[in-house]
Symmetry: C2
């Protein structure tokens, strides 16, 4: 089985059960056993003209998906790509038709024409007023006398449904559908065939080809041509439509045949509006899947001249969720980019103490380059030392441009520098740590608290927790201990870093992909970097104006 | 190229142009060149909390398709399956965020977490209030510390969007999203991998397998298992979800991953409601494509406990067309079949004259069986004679049950008999001819006019016209001549039938598939049958009470 079905025989019956059950009570179905499958509006009171359509399944959301206020009153569902029986159609007619009568909208396929046609006669014999409109919107095979009914059928559904909803009589409802049926022209293209459940897929369309002028039952199209992209595909269809189109404004119905992605459909919409016929397309329905051919990777374009009256009918709102609505085309200029995107350039200022601290940390990272690379080689690609040293050198080079005298701005500026000079996830995470610390400082927190807030933000974004074998394992205990002095913090960082050598299952970072045996006994390079920077800061000589504002006994210098 | 695109590089930019142009003015985009792709609500005035999401493209309609009232304020779009840049996210934030602040809803992928996270810091540095909720609804890989964000993200979008639309403050908006993010659980399955434009398709999933516990970027799922149909697939997911679900009612979000047909999705919906967890599913969103993986033939099921407050937010109407709405589950009994479907049993009555006419026509067809078969063998499968003779024998056998004294009912009854006893399109078309003639008689037309009306109805349904080499070529001239007497009509039928031997291009019926050389010189068997029946009727002896009501000179007998 290659589809999410239970058996080929039960596809349509079970699908209808699912559709009705998830309709929120807006749909109902007739209890007709396996052969009479009819979906009806649950709220229908027969006071207005019923609009009935249907045909083989496999065209979803058509037809059952279009049952609802202002659209279809009932949909008669055959098997996949097979017409429903006369009895099924008759059951649908009888279920929803009152004195106002009903309109049958039928796609021009022999089975549908015959079965709907005979059911109509039977209903008439029972005294019902029944009209029938046959849709033949396909223009791909101009030589045949009965063109196929394709996605243009949706226009007939909507216009008839809107007239019925407004209380129009049977003649008015039929006239609206007939107008759409007479005027709509549809042409389809596909890059692949569809897969009929239970049947082997036909490999008819070769790579590099597109099939043009195709129907909605997987049958071969009018021809296969070289595929040269979305723009060319639309240009080819526009070339076929243009000489047949009347002057004046038109609505375009852009229909996915099933598996075409929204991205592709939206690109096709763009190309349509830029095509030679684009100027006449004042309104669009879709792009959306409306009349599909199972999972066919194709689309169809329907155009129809649009009077004010048509526009009112096609644009009438409906709660039917498969109907994408008709929108007027508005190719508006893009909005200008907002102010504030330019890189934040801090105003440089000096603070000898802060300058010394920053430089001390940078020097420590530069000095640790080889050690950290060696550690990283045990669990990663051996570049942690180089990455950090590069960032440290860059920061050092820009020391005179930093707002050294303003801690809030200094942390933000360092974050910005790191996001530019340091690659990889770690660069972004450190940038977030510094930026968020600056943010916390701006909200009035003290430095130690601000650093902890920055760490928390970094953890939220990065997702790593204590014990995940990352720099957090050194940084978190150090920041917790910071109020007790830098020496204590540095000591905690060292202990934390050392503990990572026993963490044999990394849960974050690249080491997560490495086995326990490789990790055992090796300190995480990020944690080691934190320990070394803190050790250097704690060992600095010029402690009188520490940015950390923590008094300590004289330690050895940085 | 295997997709309806122009180039891999321009996919997202061009798709956004198409989306915005066909949005009816409800959407706008930032003019950010090829790398900053942001779709925003065109009507946004920054007075409320902005709800921003996004990520890589390829998940359409997420995320740009969910921009609109009561949902997202802006969507930031990366390349296919690639996170947008920090600058792109920042541009989106700056474009829509006012004093009320903004919420970022981020799927838990490293790139998205980092880039949205850093952009948030930059926006905060510019004085904006920014909150961020990370969605991690995947339950397929319980051992990982940062589960992936999947379709459950939509619940966060909708709940946050609804609170924002209602004027809630940033904390309330973030809380609503966080509730969905914390409670939603998602599990996906697929029968095939997706096709990334410009990349070869990976043939990872073998026929007969389904991949379970998959993400939305084409990456391998948690495992591949034997596929045993829709019911079993849902049962397996329900088995995983059930022990994790809280008691009480839940909403299910049933999401197509792209190429799964509506038929399949509706069957999955049905199976879900019949599954062991179905009793807890009181509401459903979808089935519909919401968070796709390009054209992946799969689906995902998200469940989330549902409080009254949640239901109000999720159920709040929105004009965003990609949002399928939340519906309450109503598994209602099917409606009984309407009365009137049973076969119409006419009240038998006698009229010696009408009986004689019917029997005469039947005898003529039975007598012509071999001739007509031989003619049909030239252009078809050689069974026209047998088909008509079988129907004639059946009608003859039921002659005593026919309403012979009531012409209207008689024609209807003959139509009904033909639809039962005569196979193929011709049987239905003749049934329509007789039924429609009866219908016309019931409206007061004389018999000749009623027969012409019946013929017209048959032609509307069948589509064949004069000259198409069908029975019409004999029937139409005969019925036109009928007011001049049966002999003239029979003569016209014969002339018309003879003309079909020169019609070398059939346009309807099976002969349409036969070449000119095969057809030339052979009369169409349907036309010949009409000519023979009319000849027999015209030659009848007992003409005093003809059903045709036409006086004629004495002809030879039937």
């Amino acid at each position: 089985m290659t589809h999410f079905i239970n058996s080929r025989e039960t596809i349509v019956t079970e699908a209808i059960e699912g559709l009705v059950a998830s309709s929120g009570g807006s749909l109902a179905r007739l209890d007709g056993g396996p052969f009479i499958r009819v979906v009806v509006r649950a709220d229908w009171d027969k006071s207005r003209v019923a609009v009935i359509s249907g045909g083989g399944a496999g065209h979803e959301p058509a037809h059952a998906g279009f049952v609802g206020p202002g659209l279809l009153t009932a949909a008669i569902c055959g098997d996949v790509f097979a017409s429903p029986s006369v009895d099924a159609v008759l059951a649908g007619i009888l279920a929803v038709t009152g004195e106002a009568g009903c309109l049958l909208i039928v796609k021009s396929y022999t089975g549908d024409r015959l079965n709907f046609g005979l059911a109509a006669e039977r209903a008439r014999a029972r005294g019902l007023k029944v009209e029938m409109v046959i849709v033949q919107d396909d223009i791909a095979l101009p030589e045949i006398s009965r063109p196929r009914g394709l996605a243009g059928t949706l226009l007939a559904h909507k216009m008839a449904g809107a007239v019925s909803e407004g209380g129009g009589d049977l003649a008015a409802v039929a006239q609206a559908a007939q107008r759409a049926a007479s005027e709509a022209m549809t042409f389809g293209m596909s890059l692949d065939t569809c897969t009929v459940p239970g049947s082997a897929k036909e490999g008819r369309i070769q790579p590099g080809e597109v099939e043009a002028g195709l129907g909605i039952h997987g049958e071969p199209g009018a021809g296969r041509i070289a595929f040269q992209g979305a723009r060319q595909a639309i240009a080819q269809i526009a070339g076929i439509l243009a000489p047949r189109m009347q002057p004046g404004r038109h609505v375009a119905l852009l229909n996915s045949l099933g598996a075409t992605t929204d991205l592709e459909m939206q690109i096709l919409a763009r190309e349509l509006l830029h095509s030679p016929i684009g100027i006449q397309i004042t309104h669009m329905i879709g792009p959306a899947p409306m009349m599909t051919a199972l999972d066919m990777h194709g689309f169809s374009l329907t155009v129809c001249p649009l009077t004010e009256a048509d526009a009112a009918l096609l644009g009438q709102p409906t709660s039917v969720r498969a109907w994408p609505g008709m929108r007027s085309i508005k190719v508006a200029a893009a909005l200008p980019l907002p102010a504030g995107l330019e890189v934040f350039e801090p105003v440089a200022s000096d603070s000898p103490a802060n300058r010394a601290v920053v430089l001390c940390a940078c020097r420590a990272l530069i000095a640790a380059q080889a050690d950290l690379n060696a550690l990283d080689a045990k669990s990663g690609d051996g570049d942690t030392g180089s990455t950090l040293a590069t960032a440290a050198r860059a920061l050092k080079a820009r020391i005179d441009l930093l707002p050294l005298a303003d801690l809030t701005q200094l942390f933000r500026a360092i974050g910005q520098e790191l996001s530019k000079s340091m690659g990889g996830s770690s660069g972004v995470l450190l940038a977030i740590l510094f930026a968020a610390t600056g943010d916390a400082l701006s909200r009035g927190l003290g430095l130690a608290a601000a650093l902890r807030a920055g760490l928390q933000r970094m953890q939220e974004i990065g997702g790593a927790r204590l014990g995940d074998r990352t720099m957090i394992d050194a940084l978190q205990p150090a920041l917790v201990a910071l109020p007790d002095g830098l020496a204590v913090a540095a000591s905690r960082a060292r202990e934390g870093a050392d503990r990572t050598a026993e963490m044999t299952r990394a849960k974050a970072g690249r080491a997560a992909y490495i086995g326990a045996a490789e990790l055992s006994g090796h300190i995480d390079p990020g944690a080691e970097a934190v320990a070394q920077v803190l050790a250097a800061l704690a060992a600095r000589q010029d402690r009188s104006e520490s940015i950390l504002g923590i008094e300590e006994p004289n330690p050895p210098g940085c």
